[in-house]
Symmetry: C2
């Protein structure tokens, strides 16, 4: 790929910006060399790449504030980045932006077991939050698949979930307060260490706002006591419809498993070939896990197994020990890796009403035939969050575009049945132009008016979340008003 | 009290407004006669009274929209009202407003047990939501003390809780979607029937916004399966500190009771004299309730009773049957009535970190001596929501003002220890001028800028929530800009 050659004006402006940033940041915290900024050119949506103008790596809220103030005053766009694990391009730079990475901000600020919270800098990774409290038998509940790498900053931006969010909720249900730096450098506290903050629910507004409203530098998170134990059951069914009906019946019975995971035949086959987990070859597999004391587990499982038996399962296997529990989860946890060995794939993320599952799977099957691309379905079935994996050949011209079109059709299908475009990955750049399928112009206008309040110049994380034409016209309007 | 005599201009304007409203509303739905509008002059904060210019009682979202459009175009303030049970003056009219009461909008629109939601018009009372689903063994969790009378509209406006919100969360955790009418008459849907709506979390923003952003006419609410059973334990301690430490230890142990209620000695004495519940005379009483199957209840209570015994309780009584459970709750549930028989009182509502309880109770005791006014404390201890009742004599000149000053000091104390001005009653007019004790000018400015987006003319529920001077200057600015 040939590098575009910047002209003299661009070079001079870059030098000005880097000089201003270097004045307020310690040495080594501003990166402007093109060979080094290249490391930040994409996140986990690697199909899109663009190196930023410069990268800053602050260690404190004060440094973030100083950077934001400079960028605000000089009219430079800022793209915030946690660990760069976004599957939706949420941290994709623009060529004229300062990429603000919070990865060096990973301190634990305060731990309070009596009031059950931890306060961390948001560059800290998800799993290491649990790591900081597990010696006291506590844990932080949201558990995205990328939890080893992903940062709390990104979890808050995307309102991330995970396999266990059926019981514990997603990030917004486990977030008590934040320190946020606004685009002009103002540092503000929202929420606190306890339930019920006063005033408008700006904390809820911030959570899931994908870096459009400010940069969250510190977060107070709810921590929970670890359950005494957990036990999964593996259930095989001979159709997606029956497995879907079984999920509905479990939910309706008022039992609350900690996870209900769903895999269809293409996914089962790939996982079994990869992990040799001993899965039965059938049309649909469920892994249902409950937790608590042994008595609670027995009680909940007896209800769940009764329901499952009424749906004529081809397999019903309760884990008898930790070893068998591990094997039941092994296949599911390696699903993405397993698929990646067989095929290139695009991982979608949409939500649907639980009861629409059989219909949606049927329609996805039809779309698969229509487009001539295979689909494997992995699904947080308890809370309606689907992850269809569309299989394609990255080396075949036109296949990626076909795959993107099919992905858009599947996400429109999610909206059509009453669900939405994203469960936990966010809109980012991936789905920005599908927003018009979910929202009427008035709805989008209201969302953009709220962004106007926090970021009147439209400098923060540009060209994402909102349809590109709408956000560009908004930004041009802001520029013209100056 | 002498009635102010309106001048000719005011009379003419009122006639114009009433005529415009009567054109779009059916007969009997617009009330303008002074003797009838008087019925709407106050809510449950009866110390403040002001009859509205007119009252409208719509039956549908379309009618609400028509009323809002007229008021918007004519520049008439609108005060929304559910059942008028606000203890913070959230539904207090202004003399120039149209009071928009949703009490006639009480239909159930849809019930879906498989996806566990109900959709209702928001004039429906809280308890009758459960009434609509209990034949299928479901219930709606938030349970404010006023649940027999209070409307879902008011619950959403104030983000109401209740004794059981320790386990089930408050309104915002049980609200899935709304239909909202904006000030200009626009009808918008926010959220839906399922988790994860796309875009900014405007649903969270609406919930608890005290009628400042729009009028919610329909709501989709999460319904839950009724637990198999529940059992309370009564615990007496010889100091507030020890009872507070016991609450902390229970929470820290990771058990999640459905309720932890706290009463101090003045409250115990009043309740016992009124209800003869057989409470021990001690310094502090806790009622801790757990629910689930008999096995789950036994298991949870064994952990809780072990913790309680370590704190040397003067009484530890586990309900053996439904009759004894009823008696344990009887005193607590009659607390407000019991206090009302003995004294005039003002009921406060603030939240604090659970661990600050002993300190806060000590400081309240000192303030009580300083002001010479008694205080009884009733407290949702599990989630830190306090309801101190300040006792005063309404017939003694100056006593109410003294009581208000002391109330303000107690709420400032809540903020000082890291809590907030309101747990579930809202700010309303009662606490608007205390907002500056909780929020810095920038924080208030951000909240008011969000209101600008939804209600640029500042016509909705005027003179509430924000400090009076700030909201009046905002409104005057909006008027001048026209």
């Amino acid at each position: 790929m040939e590098m575009p050659v910047p002209n003299a004006d661009v070079i001079a402006r870059k030098a000005q910006i880097v000089a201003a940033l270097s004045k307020v940041m310690p040495s080594g915290a501003v990166i402007s060399d093109v060979s080094e900024t290249r490391a930040y050119e994409c996140d986990a949506l690697t199909a899109y790449r663009c190196a930023p103008l410069a990268v800053v790596l602050p260690r404190s809220t004060e440094e973030v504030s100083a950077v934001m103030k400079i960028c605000h005053d000089m009219g430079v766009p800022v793209v915030p980045r946690g660990s760069g694990t976004s599957l939706a391009g949420g941290a994709l730079p623009t060529a004229d932006c300062v990429l603000l990475g919070v990865a060096r901000m990973n301190e634990v600020i305060e731990t309070d077991y009596e009031n059950r919270f931890i306060r961390v800098q948001t560059g800290r990774t998800n799993l290491s939050v649990t790591g900081a409290v597990e010696q006291e038998d506590f844990f932080y509940a949201p558990d995205p698949s990328s939890q080893l790498a992903c940062a709390i900053a990104g979890n808050i931006a995307m309102n991330s979930g995970g396999a266990h969010c059926l019981k514990y909720g997603v990030t917004t249900n486990n977030l008590l307060g934040v320190t946020i730096v606004l685009m002009d450098g103002t540092v503000t506290e929202i929420g606190g260490a306890h339930l019920d903050s006063g005033g408008l629910d700006l904390l809820g507004l911030i959570c899931g706002s994908e870096g459009q409203l400010g940069v969250v530098t510190e977060a107070t998170l709810r921590i929970l006591r670890k359950p005494e134990g957990a036990r999964p059951v593996l259930m095989g069914f001979d159709s997606n419809e029956v497995a879907g009906a079984c999920v509905s019946d479990i939910i309706k019975a008022g039992v609350l498993p900690v996870a209900i995971e769903f895999m269809d035949r293409p996914c089962i086959e790939a996982c079994e070939a990869f992990a040799h987990a001993g899965y039965p070859m059938c049309e649909a597999l469920l892994i249902v896990e409950v937790e608590g004391s042994p008595a609670e587990i027995d009680e909940q499982l007896s209800v769940i197994l009764d329901i499952a038996r009424r749906h004529n399962p081809v397999e019903l296997r309760e884990a008898k020990d930790a070893d068998e529990a591990g094997r039941i989860w092994l296949g599911r946890k390696s699903a993405f890796g397993a698929m990646g060995q067989i095929n290139d794939y695009m991982c979608l993320d949409g939500t649907i009403p639980v009861t629409s599952l059989p219909y949606v799977l049927k329609r996805i099957g039809e779309l698969s035939k229509q487009y001539g691309l295979g689909v494997a379905n992995v699904f947080h079935a308890g809370d309606g969050n689907m992850h269809p994996l569309i299989l394609f050949d990255a080396n075949k011209p036109g296949d990626l575009e076909l795959c993107e079109d099919m992905g858009a059709d599947i996400l429109r299908l999610c909206v059509e049945v009453g669900g939405c475009l994203t469960g936990e990955h966010g809109v980012g750049i991936e789905k920005r132009d599908l927003m018009v399928d979910q929202f009427a112009p008035d709805d989008l206008e209201a969302q953009m008016a709220v962004k106007d309040v926090f970021d009147p110049k439209w400098l923060l994380n540009p060209a994402k979340v909102f349809p590109l034409a709408a956000s560009e016209s908004r930004r041009n309007f802001a520029l013209a008003a100056e």
